[in-house]
Homo-oligomer: 501 residues x 2
Amino acid sequence: MEDHFKRLSELLGEIVDLGEAAALLGWDQETYMPPGATQDRSMQLATLNKIVHEKFTSDEIGELIEKLKSEMSSVDPDSDEARLVKNVSREYDKQRKVPSNWVAEFSRVTSLAQEAWKKARQRSEFALFQPDLIKVLELRRQYAHYFAPYDHIYDPLLDDFEPGMKTADVKKVFAELRPKQVELVQAIMDSQYPVDDSVLHQEFDEQKQWDFGLEVIKAFGFNFDRGRQDKSTHPFTTSFGSNDVRITTRLKPDFLSVGLFGTLHEAGHGIYEQGFSSRLSRTPLANGASLAIHESQSRMWENLVGRNRPFWIGFYPRLQEYFPDQLGEVDLETFYRAINKVERSLIRTEADEVTYNLHIMLRFELELALIEQTLDVADLPQVWNTKMEEYLGITPPNDADGVLQDIHWSFGIFGYFSTYCLGNLIAGMLWENILSDIPDLEKQFERGKFDALWNWLNQKILQHGAKFEPAELIKRATGSELSAEPYVQYLNTKYGEIYQF
Amino acid sequence: MEDHFKRLSELLGEIVDLGEAAALLGWDQETYMPPGATQDRSMQLATLNKIVHEKFTSDEIGELIEKLKSEMSSVDPDSDEARLVKNVSREYDKQRKVPSNWVAEFSRVTSLAQEAWKKARQRSEFALFQPDLIKVLELRRQYAHYFAPYDHIYDPLLDDFEPGMKTADVKKVFAELRPKQVELVQAIMDSQYPVDDSVLHQEFDEQKQWDFGLEVIKAFGFNFDRGRQDKSTHPFTTSFGSNDVRITTRLKPDFLSVGLFGTLHEAGHGIYEQGFSSRLSRTPLANGASLAIHESQSRMWENLVGRNRPFWIGFYPRLQEYFPDQLGEVDLETFYRAINKVERSLIRTEADEVTYNLHIMLRFELELALIEQTLDVADLPQVWNTKMEEYLGITPPNDADGVLQDIHWSFGIFGYFSTYCLGNLIAGMLWENILSDIPDLEKQFERGKFDALWNWLNQKILQHGAKFEPAELIKRATGSELSAEPYVQYLNTKYGEIYQF
């Protein structure tokens, strides 16, 4: 067995190396690459990805997995080795089921769809994107069929981002969540104590914003010996092993929240990536357990920590030192309320903590209907707008700020959006446990200390990487199944206090 | 034939893509990579390089080359296609001759040798490096044997950097050059008109140095849509296709020459890489013809243009605008003499235009003797010091500033040094032709115009990439065989005027 495991590790190690190389090419493309290199870069990436795919789906890996699966019966099923074989076997089976001509066709169709989406969005005209979206959906349904039988045709799509999660699970938890969120938004809108966030809309020197952000995320535990931060148009996190984790941010000179909370958010992703146990290095287990788990980390540091009063009791005086003219006379309470302002808004990426989930649920429901073919693509803009009004009490004035706002569908990505919301819910579940396990947590935040939180997260989440499937990881960390309740509770308490209802 | 050529191009395209990915990893390592990632990065690079080697030395490529060689008889031997097959065939044969266990052993031994060299250099104690150097030399001799028969055992080593060049050729041209260089240095040292370069040793704001450098290299023709400049400890140029060429520089706040001429030098390399015809893209012909040809371009822009009076007639007023306090009162002639000061110095990388070649010739002779085994490794420091005295009239006070100053031998690199000097000589040959083909060249420089020079270089050198072997390229560009004469002439004229002898 040892020989087979060693050989598998060797092959996986090379595949991981190549994947990390591709990730660096992707990072560079968004940060430093000169504009003229776009076409060459896409060739380099295509070649790397092709080789990674060929190597991973090779017969040799299949044979090793088969041998190891029978040999593993004597090994602790919770050992890294057993879990690695399980994880790789699962992914291998999935990748082998998808024929390479589908992959080629998907790549061709989505490449055109992206162009069409760009044009449609520019002109705010959904009809320009419609024919491409129809083709993409057809291919996505075909993709799902490769994994038949399934409970729901959307399951295989979801599974790519949330291993093991079923459509029915998401539907159930969203059905529980939606009315409570709608109700909460309504209560806030009816509040007699509106929030004024004008203090955030002043001139803030970008270098100082950058420096303050670094100070905070260093305190959070983001390690700059094994990572760095750069600027990019759209903030993201990537890594080439947990010793080289790169986050990016963007700064707006006239609005503090964009850069600040963007930085904290990406640092959350980065802290996760830096936390994978070194035992998992150069294996596919040195990855996030799922996108939702990843998002639980980013949203936790951004919102549950970063928009929390105790954190600002510790850090607000420091922020005032950076910006004495802008914030010297602004008291903590005004600032705290400003960063937690809730608004009915059109754009998901700019949505606040409370309304965000509603943007997501809307997309999930529409995706489902499109894949199920219970919604005609031509009707999509209309249904989008109706749901916006129903959930958020606001109707997009045009397609660009409505159905065309997100790039995801043009990439052929379906099953992804819900992970943003699930991440919030998981963060809520973790937070409930953290508060009970670390009674003086908020006192520690007031003193700028975050190591108890980091230690808790590391023990329960970070170090395990993708060793456990998300449902099992959540169960191990919290003792519970996925539930919206703790997050709803958290929102109600926090915003009930801010908006005094 | 077309099918075979198409298939070969496809395979080579992928190999080029992977090589470019590896180059990006290398660039990142020297510019932005966090320190903790060193070990992971070396694994990623090892995997990429291994795959590149496997793919390039595959039987399929060998078979395609064989087929194409016979099929190519009907094709113009100067066509890109015919030259590509010739180039690839040559490189394929070379790489197939070296057994993979030699490669593994060489990698192991040089990795240790680098550590030993670092320690030896730190303690300035050659004996600490000696045992490793002996092993490296043994491996290098073994490497040469794989290419037997040869005229000289050093030929195969030289050929890795200067395809087709023989040891005898270098010996001949160096024998002609050396006494003339020694004599010139002596004349300068005896001059009654010494140069004072203290104006260069003032405080120069780094950002302003950076900005001025960019202004100059943009005027030279370095294209920032297809390239960029960053900072690194040791300046270098790399590229990932001619649409993405990266140069680096380093700036010293108290010495203007380091950053300025470093920038011009790397820009010369970069302009070469950006100039390869797009017809050669994704083939091994999209490379410099050799290291000496590459160096001819960097040294030309750095020295023959950048330390030339007409260039500064154009750009000195601009430099004075950047640094009015430092240079506002310094006249052009004082500045021009300062940047061309000749000194007897210990360190190759800091040597001026006149003494530089002597540093190189010394290394070439010692390498030759080591590989020929006519010099015992134990005697190396002594012989180094003796030759330094003989050629440069100066004796190193210790090994660190003598025989241990360069990292190359610890990497197992032999045959490389001479290309620096050959580059100067080739630059001299090209320059002679350029001056005669573009009579008003220097007038153009005075007006900050460099496009006539770029056009000449592009027509004769840049666009061809590695299509022609260096000797043929030089012949096509200048009508002559390699000769030291034009460069000697250039130096004598220029420095005769500056030092008035």
